[in-house]
């Protein structure tokens, strides 16, 4: 066999966004040796794109807030198919994780009395998002990065994992390649944490970067771990729609939190037309009340623009389909109107939403302080992922942990904005802590050389072929398929068609050819990522077919209503021994009485 450079750690963290960095810091603090693999350069992960803030019931702005309200909001937003234990831990621990970030150097916006400022966001009853203008994700990743580099963590930049390595049932490392020269590396570890983020690149219109190819989801699946909730994709209601080259880039919910309103081509605020019964009592019934809410009036209820993302996205789709959209197939998001209310509106908008101002000015020649933006839904986030133990974040495979977007449970059928950054910290920390414990209790495993050789041969195959297909073209075809057939509005016949298409693309992906050599070769990277994208696309589609109802991120045209029976289960995906994908329904455990009571009390 070929000799590969081998690195050995107690804990290996794959992914260096918020969850991966937080996990690495925690594991390192527990006194074990930690390796951290970044797909890009350190500090460039998709976390930098998070804008609005991190949700934590610190009650700095509204003293009625506490973990119980946050828990109840999260469960309601997730339509009650969340892992209630994760929602509980998240709500309880998020405030400490935010404060800890401040102790590590994060510089949050302040309240008048000098505390961390919190802002309103969709589905959160009280102003709850700690933030820094509209660049909270950057603040978070930079803080973790700058703290992390002094904690003795070994960082491997621009390294991509090809496969997880197992010894018996246990995961004991990973095979990866480094980008610059395409050299393969073996990482041996007693515990492995996946923190690889999302799958947005399976869709044509997405807010995700090239990295979001479902690597962790696919690696875990192939290693035998169970995935759940894969049908629940979050289409963020407000992505840019024009010009074409920026289609999908995120427009923060913070715009609506600061008073921005949605209007159709007739100038109507259409969000007032459809307020779901579950939120009727919490939602303003007139524009003035909605405005007062965004300005901190405690007696006002939130404007319908701040309903949950799944709902707002569908309302936008409805307006566009009914012919009331904007010229480029979106609707209008107007923050400029607040000049009717605030004397210094222009400065206020630039201060509160600097990067949005910047983004539209530079990419669309549009001044958001004077002109409404055109926005439409964009694939943003996957609620589904690796099924984990709520307390330890260990998957169904021993030694394999997952945290952040690639893990599932906390968000149920729909994630509330702001719950992602706090999720990364809360469960990143827990994953790091428990992976370190696992590593201390277990010895290192033995790498199967034949398995490694086979994986390397497979990975290099695209160079050996002549005249095969272009991996970029295949990726684009897959994105079109998922966008058109497994998008915001789904139906069984279309999804069956999607499965057939995915099957064909799988076969064709066996024949891709890449030019050049292994040195920093994007065509090769795309070819390798393709198999992950195909795996997650199939998982999303199969799970979506199985859930014959509409709930949160899943809207079925053929089953438009919610079905109480489906409220009792999660859809699980697992690889069978013959290599096929198995779909099953797993019952959600009974919620303890005290948590039930909280939900009832919060109404």
């Amino acid at each position: 066999m070929t000799e590969f450079t081998t690195f050995e750690h107690d804990v290996l963290v794959i992914g260096a966004g918020g969850a991966g960095l937080r996990a690495a810091i925690e594991a390192s603090a527990a006194g074990v040796s930690v390796g951290l693999i970044c797909k890009s350069l350190l500090g460039k992960a998709h976390t930098v794109m998070a804008e609005g803030g991190m949700a934590a019931a610190m009650a700095n702005v509204d003293d009625r807030d506490n973990w119980k309200v946050h828990f109840s909001d999260t469960m309601r937003g997730g339509q009650y198919v969340n892992n209630w234990r994760m929602a509980e831990l998240h709500a309880k621990e998020a405030p400490d994780r935010v404060r800890e970030l401040e102790a590590w150097g994060a510089v949050f916006d302040r309240t008048k009395d000098g505390k961390i400022l919190q802002r309103n966001f969709g589905g959160h009853k009280y102003p709850r998002l700690a933030h820094v203008g509209d660049r909270t994700g950057l603040e978070m990743i930079r803080t973790l990065q700058d703290h992390g580099i002094h904690q003795g963590i070994e960082v491997y930049m621009e390294v991509t994992v090809v496969t997880l390595l197992k010894d018996g049932d246990r995961v004991i490392g990973a095979l990866a390649y480094e980008r610059e020269h395409g050299r393969f590396r073996i990482f041996k570890a007693k515990a492995v944490i996946l923190a690889t983020g999302g799958v947005g690149r399976a869709y044509k219109i997405t807010s995700n970067s090239w990295e979001g190819t479902g690597d962790g989801h696919a690696l875990a699946y192939r290693a035998g771990a169970e995935l759940i909730d894969m049908e629940f994709i979050q289409f963020h209601p407000t992505g840019m729609v024009w010009p074409p080259s920026v289609r999908g880039i995120l427009v923060t919910e913070g715009v609506r939190g600061e008073g921005g309103i949605l209007k159709n081509s007739e100038g109507k605020r259409f969000m007032f037309d459809d307020i779901p019964p579950l939120y009727k009592d919490q939602t303003a019934d007139n524009p003035e009340e909605g405005w007062l809410y965004t300005q901190g009036d405690k007696n006002a209820r939130r404007p319908p623009e701040l309903l949950t993302r799944d709902h707002v996205a569908r309302c936008i789709m409805r307006e566009v389909k009914a012919g009331r959209g904007s010229p480029h197939g979106g609707v209008y998001l107007d923050i400029a109107w607040i000049k009717e209310k605030l004397p210094n509106a222009e400065e206020h908008i630039k201060k509160k939403l600097p990067s949005m101002y910047h983004q539209f000015k530079q990419l669309a020649d549009l001044d958001i302080t004077t002109t409404p933006m055109e926005v439409g839904p964009t694939t943003h986030y996957i609620m589904g992922g690796v099924r984990v133990n709520a307390d330890t974040q260990m998957s169904t495979v021993p030694g394999l942990f997952a945290a952040g977007e690639c893990a599932a449970g906390i968000n149920g059928a729909n994630r509330l904005g702001g719950n992602s950054l706090s999720d990364l910290l809360v469960f990143g920390k827990r994953a790091g802590e428990h992976a370190a414990i696992f590593a201390k209790e277990n010895s290192s495993g033995t790498v199967d050389d034949a398995e490694v050789d086979q994986a390397v041969t497979n990975a290099l195959a695209p160079f050996e072929r002549e005249g095969g297909e272009n991996p970029f073209a295949l990726q684009h075809e897959l994105q079109d398929t998922m966008q058109d057939l497994v998008g915001i509005v789904r139906t069984e016949s279309e999804m069956q068609q999607a499965l057939e298409e995915v099957e064909k693309l799988k076969e064709r992906s066996e024949h891709v050819h890449v030019p050049g050599n292994v040195d920093f070769n994007p065509a090769w990277h795309t070819a390798l990522d393709l198999s992950n994208l195909l795996t997650v696309s199939e998982a999303i589609t199969r799970a979506a077919i199985e859930r014959k109802e509409s709930r949160g991120g899943q809207y079925r045209e053929d089953f438009p209503a919610k079905d109480a029976e489906f409220g009792k289960i999660n859809i699980a995906i697992r690889k069978t021994d013959d290599g096929s994908m198995q779909v099953s329904r797993v019952p959600i455990p009974e919620m303890p009485a005290e948590l039930k009571q909280i939900i009832e009390e919060m109404g």
Binding site: R99, V107, V132, L363, F520
Partner: protein, 246 residues
């Protein structure tokens, strides 16, 4: 409409400018053109990118000789009737095509003493800070680490003082720590002795290229220079120091 892009191809030692013609349309940025060329004509064309929205600072390059983010440079701001040249940042060693070895920057950061807060102000472990006291620090923390300021700094680019000078990015980083009202660490001596702040002669090239519009020279570097002067060259302070030593 088609436009021509002259892109630097090759490794550290051998490189050449290669012409690619590709279809352009309304609203496109330089990165769109590069990715289109990559997916249609040159699959192994290496470039870094992530967010495509000016937030991650990965796609830095020199476009028609100007250091810029490819994702934020719209084609309608360039003379597309002539070939557009795209080259890697010149201050760093080339890895391949448009990708440079920026690892030096990550090493520099490790040398700077980390944030060390004063004890919390409140029993719950939190601090009280006024917004006006952190406005300046927040300006510095907008930095996306694209390293364009490092690329354009003549101390690094032309005089190659990487061993003695940390460059504008890290002077901004030190300024963000030094001006943070919670921080108790002292990095002033390091600025003079190890970070080479004296090399900066305030040409403001860094400020001009910053995609985040951070006023690097005026708000970060000059105040730091003043602190160094106060600490080491103030005659009264020097006298006090002299007596303390005895």
């Amino acid at each position: 409409m088609k436009a021509t892009f002259k892109i630097r191809r090759g490794d550290r030692e051998h490189g050449e400018m290669v012409d690619y013609s590709t279809e352009i349309s309304e609203g496109m940025v330089v990165l769109d053109a590069v990715l289109q060329i990559q997916s249609e004509q040159a699959g192994d064309l290496a470039c870094r990118w992530n967010c495509k929205a000016g937030k991650c600072g990965s796609c830095s390059a020199e476009i028609n000789g100007m250091p810029k983010l490819m994702c934020m440079t719209r084609l309608n701001t360039l003379p597309v009737d002539e070939p557009i040249t795209i080259e890697p940042m010149r201050a760093f060693p080339i890895e391949k095509d448009l990708v440079t070895d920026v690892s030096w920057n990550f090493e520099v950061k490790k040398k700077i003493k980390p944030f060390k807060p004063r004890p919390p102000d409140a029993p719950d472990g939190t601090w009280r800070v006024m917004q006006e006291d952190i406005d300046r620090v927040q300006e510095f923390r907008k930095c996306i680490e694209c390293f364009l300021c490092q690329d354009v700094c003549h101390v690094l680019r032309d005089h190659e003082k990487q061993a003695e000078f940390i460059g504008p990015r890290f002077l901004v980083y030190v300024a963000a720590l030094e001006m943070n009202p919670l921080d108790t660490e002292d990095r002033i001596a390091d600025l003079r002795n190890e970070f080479g702040i004296g090399f900066c002669n305030i040409t403001k090239c860094c400020t001009k290229v910053c995609p985040e519009s951070i006023t690097i020279t005026d708000n970060a570097i000059i105040p730091l220079k003043e602190r160094v002067v106060d600490e080491f060259y103030d005659p009264v302070k020097r006298l006090v120091k002299l007596f303390r030593k005895k």
